[in-house]
């Protein structure tokens, strides 16, 4: 009796996206297929404009492809409503952005609490988990501090803690070290890898940072919206 391999955690097939700039159509992604197994650490590399962010946006359900489809554990997500996609992002994805994107009126702990608040979790377990997550990223004493009083590296740590708040199955990180100095960038990279290893969370990271590339399990290279090769 033939055995079927488990479907990948997240998969994009034939993803195509074209943006319109004025009267000109700019193809950002041309029929890209990619599969991310659970627990994998994948790096997306390529020059600016190669389509890394577009691919992350499509895989992270932040945007819809013109053609192609995204599926989660083999289940196609194309037919989901906006609200269903929002719920899926909230419950299964964690996002880390280049500019941290913390909510300025919330403290570090409240920023971490935010995804749990959106999920409807009660205040007490929410606060407790936020404390644990801040401790896990080395910021146990910064919970009450507003983002504007934190350094860039600290903000990115808060953003990573927030990404893990709802026990995301996959972290989608777009240039997470691009705004940081090399020392801090190295620390953030170590943190991402540590959390990936300890928690078994899959990561897909778009970056120019060669240090991340060197430590990835898989590197996908994009050029002009096409996948060039995959390096194991």
């Amino acid at each position: 009796m033939p055995t079927h391999p488990a479907p990948p955690l997240l998969e994009g097939r034939g993803l195509t996206k074209t943006y319109r700039l004025g009267a000109v159509d700019v193809p950002a992604l041309r029929s890209v297929s990619v599969a991310i197994p659970g627990g994998d650490f994948v790096v997306l590399e390529g020059p600016s404009g190669s389509g890394k962010t577009t691919l992350l946006n499509l895989l992270g359900l932040l945007d819809r492809p013109d053609q192609g489809s995204v599926s989660w554990e083999g289940e196609p997500l194309d037919g989901l409503s906006e609200d269903e996609r929002s719920d899926l992002r909230r419950d299964r994805f964690g996002f880390v952005f280049q500019s941290y994107n913390l909510i300025p009126v919330l403290s570090a702990a409240e920023n971490v609490e935010l995804p749990m608040f959106l999920r409807g979790m009660a205040a007490a377990p929410r606060r407790s988990r936020a404390r644990d997550l801040l401790a896990a990223v080395g910021l146990e004493d910064k919970g009450r501090v507003r983002p504007d009083l934190l350094s860039g590296g600290q903000r990115q740590r808060v953003a990573i803690a927030r990404a893990l708040a709802n026990e995301a199955r996959i972290l989608v990180a777009d240039e997470p070290t691009a705004s940081l100095d090399s020392v801090t960038a190295g620390e953030i990279l170590d943190l991402l890898l540590q959390l990936h290893t300890e928690r078994g969370v899959a990561c897909i990271v778009a970056t120019h940072d060669s240090r991340i590339r060197a430590r990835a399990q898989r590197v996908l290279a994009l050029r002009d919206g096409r996948l060039e090769d995959a390096v194991a």
Binding site: N57, G60, L62, D63, E82, D83, S86, D87, L88, R89, R90, D91, F93, F95, F97, S99, N101, L102, I103, P104, V105, L106, E110, E113, L114, P115, F117, L118, R119, A123, R126, R162
Partner: protein, 409 residues
């Protein structure tokens, strides 16, 4: 953490803009409540002016008198049972006073010139206890005797005839039998009435003189009733009507508000002006708040993208901005209520006198009433306006593409 708490922090964060938007709401609220309080005072003055100007709280007359305005002939619809009805009314605990009146038309002559007048036969002493008429006398005095052959003339009427206090004039009128009759009266005083048309024709004389002139034999045009409790005019009027009908009196009861056409017209005019003021203020608040909210949404585009990326449903993002708008509205109204109360307190103690409102003879002190309806209505107007103004920016925020919002610089 709640949506309201996040909204509050955002409002506090953009302090200058929030102060501006909240200030506009506060201004609108203060303007509405002060206008409402001032209008209430004007209505009160007008109401008192109407009641104490001679209308009383209730009037009782033959049904034909109200229907046809007195008829063509003298006392055509007179109240023959006036004495019995007045006696019956005077035992009612709610009734403060019953005044008998004869309304009639005639000619006034000093022997050389003749002018028409609208006459009122009344009990001078009783009228002086309740009504403002004696206070309108500007020369001479009010009458004192119920049977004296005296008269008080409107200043316009006195000027038309060139007479004044102490002069003797002749009243000419048709009696109830249809015969022309004349009575000499001495002018006791000249009064200035607030409405010019009335002032040009007004003549008051004693009930006795009017009775003799018209040969009324105790019949009157109507009974004017004042009540102890002015807030229960309609109920008391209805109760009296039923009681009198049960006892066989053919008499109709009308409240002052039914009779005071002028009061109703002025009230409608004021309410229309108040409504227009409300619309103008709402438009100002709408534009200012919408502008402020649009700027807020534009500034926080990336934050909106982040919230959406983290899994916030679009409706919830819209609710956040609506909550911020509502919060500004509530804070503006609270500040407005405090400011309005303080300003009212100061103005009410300023001693500023205002020109007489329509139909009132004397200046009135400026007084801003505390009108709960104006506060509730003002708050409702402001909050609805702020919500409407926030709705479009909130909708825009909720519908923004996540990718575009995240890329916003």
């Amino acid at each position: 953490m709640t949506l309201g708490a996040i909204a509050l922090r955002n409002v506090a964060r953009n302090r200058r803009r929030s102060l501006l938007s909240g200030g506009v709401v506060m201004f609108g609220f203060v303007a509405l409540t002060l206008a409402g309080g001032f209008m209430s005072q004007s209505f009160e003055a007008l109401r008192e002016g109407t009641i104490r100007g001679g209308t009383g709280h209730l009037q009782l007359a033959d049904p034909g008198w109200f229907r046809e305005g007195g008829g063509v002939e003298t006392l055509e619809h007179g109240l023959a049972d006036a004495h019995r009805v007045a006696s019956r009314l005077s035992v009612e605990p709610a009734v403060a006073q019953v005044l008998r009146r004869i309304d009639f038309y005639g000619l006034l002559t000093d022997g050389e010139r003749t002018v028409p007048f609208a006459g009122h036969g009344l009990d001078p002493a009783a009228e002086a206890r309740t009504m403002d008429l004696p206070g309108l006398v500007i020369a001479g005095r009010w009458m004192v005797d119920r049977d004296a052959h005296e008269a008080v003339l409107g200043s316009g009427l006195a000027a038309a005839l060139g007479v004044g206090p102490g002069d003797v004039v002749t009243l000419l009128a048709v009696t109830t039998d249809g015969v022309l009759n004349a009575v000499d009266v001495e002018i006791a005083g000249v009064a200035r009435l607030p409405v010019r048309e009335l002032d040009d024709r007004y003549l008051a004389t004693s009930l006795g003189a009017a009775d003799r002139l018209l040969e009324a034999r105790g019949e009157v045009s109507k009974l004017v009733v004042t009540l102890h409790d002015a807030s229960r005019v309609e109920q008391t009027g209805e109760r009296l009507r039923l009681a009198l009908a049960r006892e066989g009196f053919v008499v109709e009861v009308r409240s002052w508000e039914e009779l005071a056409v002028f009061y109703r017209q002025v009230r409608q005019l004021y309410l229309g002006m108040f409504g227009f003021l409300g619309l103008v203020l709402a438009a100002i608040v709408l534009l200012a708040t919408a502008n402020s909210m649009l700027m807020t949404v534009a500034e926080r585009t990336r934050e909106i993208g982040t919230l959406r990326a983290l899994g916030t449903r679009s409706r919830r993002v819209a609710r956040l901005f609506l909550a911020e708008g509502l919060l500004l509205g509530v804070l503006g109204c609270l500040a407005g209520a405090s400011f309005s109360l303080a300003l009212s307190w100061v103005l009410n103690r300023s001693g500023i006198m205002l020109p007489p409102p329509p139909g009132v003879a004397h200046p009135i002190p400026l007084h801003i009433d505390l009108v709960l309806t104006a506060y509730v209505g003002g708050a409702a107007t402001m909050l609805v306006t702020v919500l409407v103004a926030s709705w479009l920016p909130a909708r825009r925020a909720a519908r923004r593409s996540i990718v575009e919002a995240l890329a916003h610089v």
